[in-house]
């Protein structure tokens, strides 16, 4: 009799232990979850919510206005302008960035001497801050002290006001941005290339395929998903680029380089138009989602 009770007690203990054990993973995840939900999810959802209310410091309350903020802002010349600036900026950065990262990845894939050092070097811009990148490029393209202009003068050419003329300024922020974001997409493409089977190239070479054929018929189709991912990364980083642009041109000259992220900052912190800033934030998030869905469709692996 006493023996059965002992067993029962043990079974009870075991059951309780099992119940506690079930909750263990939740406890482990809780701290991380609190941070991510409390800060990131909360502010994203709160920001999207803000875009549906009129938040005006001069008004006592904040009435719900539905999509009115969106329509108002879409009708504003400055919004349209900065939307266009963003498209040019993103288009330029993704184009140049993809070209460079593909070339770099090919070089890094093939090199055997100092391969590690080259790969390490390729990553260096990823460690430099956006502000520092901006300062270095502002210096490089400055009218008087910039290397590029001093070089032009040495060649007997005229100085160019890189940061004083709209299209040049756009080119400079695209270059600086590309310098800043290319390392990561290079790594993505390099990873894709290293996953390929080298025998494939040998067979193709034996069959008499040229280098270009191998590149366009084998390498590119096989790493298509990786190209898609690196384009997503380049687009994301550019659409949301703030660190490089503000210290480099501050949106100038005039508003020639006022991309969406910068415009959003201005709306919120210079003009205190918080709900309009939140509208731009929502637009930026939507653009990110749309572009990534688009790329994922286009570059879906067909293999």
């Amino acid at each position: 009799m006493a023996e059965t009770t002992a067993i029962e007690v043990n079974i009870k203990k075991l059951n309780r232990y099992k119940r506690i054990k079930k909750t263990i993973p939740y406890w482990l995840i809780l701290p991380a979850l609190l941070f991510v939900v409390g800060v990131l999810w909360y502010s994203v959802l709160y920001g999207i919510g803000m875009s549906f209310f009129r938040i005006d410091l001069a008004l006592p309350d904040t009435p719900f206005v539905g999509l009115e903020n969106f329509f108002n802002l879409f009708g504003e010349e400055r919004f349209i302008h900065s939307f266009q600036r963003s498209l040019i900026f993103v288009g330029g950065s993704v184009g140049l960035g993809l070209l460079l990262s593909f070339a770099f990845a090919q070089g890094l894939y093939k090199v055997r001497t100092f391969a590690g050092s080259f790969r390490g070097l390729a990553l260096v811009p990823y460690l430099v801050s956006g502000v520092a990148t901006a300062i270095m490029f502002r210096f490089l393209f400055s009218r008087t002290v910039g290397f590029v202009n001093q070089f032009l003068v040495t060649l007997g050419l005229e100085r160019i006001e890189f940061l004083g003329e709209p299209s040049w300024a756009m080119l400079v922020i695209i270059l600086a941005n590309t310098w800043f974001i290319v390392p990561f997409s290079t790594l993505i493409l390099l990873g894709g290339m290293q996953a390929l089977d080298p025998d494939l190239f040998e067979v193709a070479l034996v069959e008499g395929a040229s280098k270009l054929t191998i590149l366009f018929r084998i390498i590119i189709p096989l790493i298509k998903p990786m190209i898609g991912i690196s384009m997503i990364w380049l687009t994301f980083a550019s659409f949301n680029m703030f660190d490089v642009v503000l210290p480099l041109t501050a949106g100038g000259p005039g508003r020639a380089t006022e991309v969406l992220a910068l415009y959003m900052y201005r709306l919120g912190f210079d003009f205190l138009r918080f709900s309009d800033g939140a509208v731009v934030m929502t637009v930026i998030l939507l653009l990110n989602i749309i572009t990534s869905v688009f790329y994922l469709r286009v570059f879906k692996s067909e293999v």
């Binding site: 080259f118 300062i135 990873g191 900052y265 912190f269």
Partner: protein, 274 residues
């Protein structure tokens, strides 16, 4: 096969080296030039009359030690908390089967793609509501939160690859969850932990939009913020000083990277592909 004959791949590599190094090299070399030599044409990469005046100016400038302290303190605390939370979460995801695991995993991972700069307006509102604008707490919590998604992803992947046999043995011997993490999982995962630590440190050390939006007083500034402000503070720019400041903000993270390069690169490659 005949890789040796194909030397064309050196072209992109040369472009890579010039493209990557030149802006840095030009900046660092100019930080050692005299104020007048900065304007000299034709330009020379090697300073004709090198001096360390700019570095002396920066190092003795008012508030510089505060900015160094702020940057270091924020980077270390937020990275430590982020890595600690991520280790626990990753262990939960890698070693337990539970009902909500996929949902929770996505809940933590998806914000990785939320751009930091886009959050500044709601974040500002949030920290203003709780009265913590212009405080270390607001910055540390915000930095920690942005670092967790990437860390958790990388660590979960790595933990799943660690064979569970050792832990099974330990748990038969009565080791608690905590002991299994502390004495088995962490020592087995040092490379991945170094990777996510360096990534978190880099992220916090270089952070700009949050510190710009969430702080107002000079004593709260970090190095990137002060670097940004240097432009306005001086009227005519003393470029060697600005560049010396830039070099000093880049140097520590670059030093870290050179020490842990192999681990960081391989960790990043795996992180980039997932």
């Amino acid at each position: 096969m005949k890789r040796g004959r194909d030397r064309l791949y050196w072209i992109p590599l040369v472009i890579l080296v010039v493209w990557t190094i030149f802006p840095l090299l030009w900046g660092v070399s100019s930080s050692f030039k005299t104020y007048a030599d900065i304007y000299r044409v034709p330009p020379s990469i090697i300073p004709p009359d090198p001096e360390i005046r700019a570095y002396q100016v920066v190092l003795t400038s008012r508030g510089f030690s505060t900015y160094v302290f702020n940057s270091t303190f924020l980077a270390l605390t937020s990275s430590f908390i982020a890595v600690a939370c991520s280790i626990l979460a990753a262990y939960g995801f890698a070693r337990f089967k539970f009902r909500l695991s996929t949902v929770l995993f996505l809940l933590i991972l998806i914000p990785r793609i939320i751009p930091r700069a886009s959050l500044i307006i709601p974040l500002f509102q949030m920290w203003a509501t709780v009265g913590l604008l212009d405080s270390y707490a607001a910055l540390i919590v915000s930095y920690t939160a942005t670092a967790i998604p990437f860390n958790t992803m990388v660590l979960t992947g790595f933990f799943r690859g660690v064979p569970p046999a050792l832990e099974d043995a330990a748990s038969i011997d009565g080791a608690s969850i905590w002991q299994r993490i502390r004495y088995i999982m962490i020592p087995m995962s040092i490379p991945a932990i170094i990777t996510v630590s360096v990534m978190s440190l880099r992220e916090a050390w270089n952070e700009f939009p949050f510190v710009l939006a969430l702080t107002t007083s000079t004593r709260m500034r970090t190095l990137p913020y002060q670097l940004f402000m240097l432009r306005d503070a001086m009227g005519i720019e003393d470029w060697p000083v600005v560049l010396a400041f830039t070099a000093l903000t880049i140097a520590p993270i670059l030093g870290f990277y050179i020490i842990f390069q192999k681990r960081v690169t391989s960790g990043l490659v795996s992180g980039a592909i997932k």
